[in-house]
């Protein structure tokens, strides 16, 4: 079982539990064009409208360190936000930022990957 740590204590690739706030939200819905095999805008350069992917990215801080973060899959984004994928586009960023989180995560290349959201603090 991963242990609880401050972000400042964690080492690369180590799985641990962190408590903190989402201090900024960059993006909540991404688009991946399967035809071009790359992330795109809502409409890809090729004219395709890719399926939206519910993926939350932003900045996470526990007061000891601040890291850019990203949720690893749609289930985690749903768990973090409390809304399902279909409603993601209408989600208010402030709703995600107004409470603390207890997360399972790891750091790779100075980026925090959220692999699970545990009980809210």
């Amino acid at each position: 079982m991963p242990i609880e740590k401050f972000l400042d204590q964690a080492t690369e690739n180590e799985r641990f539990i962190a408590n903190g706030f989402i201090v900024q939200v960059y993006n909540m819905v991404s688009y991946y064009c399967k035809r071009c095999r790359k992330f795109s805008d809502r409409m890809c350069e090729c004219g395709n409208f890719p399926e939206p992917i519910f993926r939350i990215s932003g900045l996470f801080s526990d007061g000891t360190r601040t890291y850019p973060f990203i949720t690893l899959n749609e289930r985690i984004a749903e768990k973090l936000s409390g809304v399902n994928k279909d409603n993601a586009i209408n989600l208010d960023k402030k709703e995600i930022m107004k409470k603390p989180y207890r997360i399972m995560c790891y750091i790779r290349n100075k980026k925090l990957y959220i692999t699970d959201v545990l009980d809210k603090l």
Partner: protein
């Protein structure tokens, strides 16, 4: 962006530094460009620089919101409205940036920089802040013994005295009015006379700014008093 979780009291032992065009705050817990505060909203006001929100987390802190960001300014205006219409307590989580003229100010200019939270989040924020600060204090005590509260405070004091010799400070204006007010206020012409070495336009601008920020008011035309 680096965020420190702080209480208003922590600002006493901190100092503003500017490095590579960045406004930073040096504290006992490290240096950061963004400061998180959480407190109960106790007063609101409007200034030409944006709404002024005063929160209390044991001590009071006033921040101006949205001087350079319309989005967060709109959020703050909605909070001002809510505060005036509501009887219940409102708690805010804020992400501000330090800047300094004659004293340290916190300004909020990022999207979602002011968020209404509940009392539970307020409590958890401060639990988290305390444990993070305890960890950071130990870390800096081991590694950077020179960054200590007392030394930082002395540093600020020295710098303020140094700056006051060359520039007009807001606190000097406030002090002058306070010391010369015998009850009815101080005529603005007395202030112009006393600070005669400074440009009249700059002085007028400073006085107007202090009124906008809620430090001074005009009980009658061309007479000023300090709001205590």
């Amino acid at each position: 962006m680096d965020v420190l979780f702080l209480s208003t009291r922590d600002l006493r032992n901190s100092r503003y530094v500017r490095i590579n065009n960045k406004n930073l705050l040096e504290t006992r817990f490290g240096t950061a460009d963004t400061l998180a505060f959480c407190g109960r909203l106790e007063e609101v006001g409007n200034t030409r620089y944006g709404p002024r929100l005063r929160i209390n987390d044991g001590d009071s802190l006033s921040v101006i919101v949205g001087t350079f960001n319309e989005n967060v300014r709109r959020d703050a205006e909605a909070i001002v409205k809510k505060f005036r219409e509501s009887d219940g307590d409102i708690y805010l989580l804020m992400y501000g940036n330090p800047y300094e003229t004659d004293k340290l100010y916190i300004n909020v200019n990022q999207d979602n920089g002011v968020i209404v939270v509940d009392k539970g989040t307020y409590d958890k924020f401060h639990d988290m802040r305390k444990s993070a600060q305890e960890y950071l204090r130990k870390k800096y005590d081991d590694k950077l013994p020179e960054i200590r509260g007392k030394e930082i405070s002395d540093g600020i004091k020295d710098r303020i005295i140094e700056e006051d010799e060359f520039s007009l400070s807001n606190s000097a204006i406030i002090e002058f009015i306070r010391n010369n007010d015998e009850g009815d206020g101080v005529p603005i012409d007395d202030i112009f006379k006393f600070f005669g070495n400074f440009d009249r336009e700059v002085l007028e601008e400073r006085i107007f700014e202090l009124m906008e920020m809620g430090y001074l008011y005009e009980p009658k035309s061309r007479v000023l008093k300090v709001i205590e």
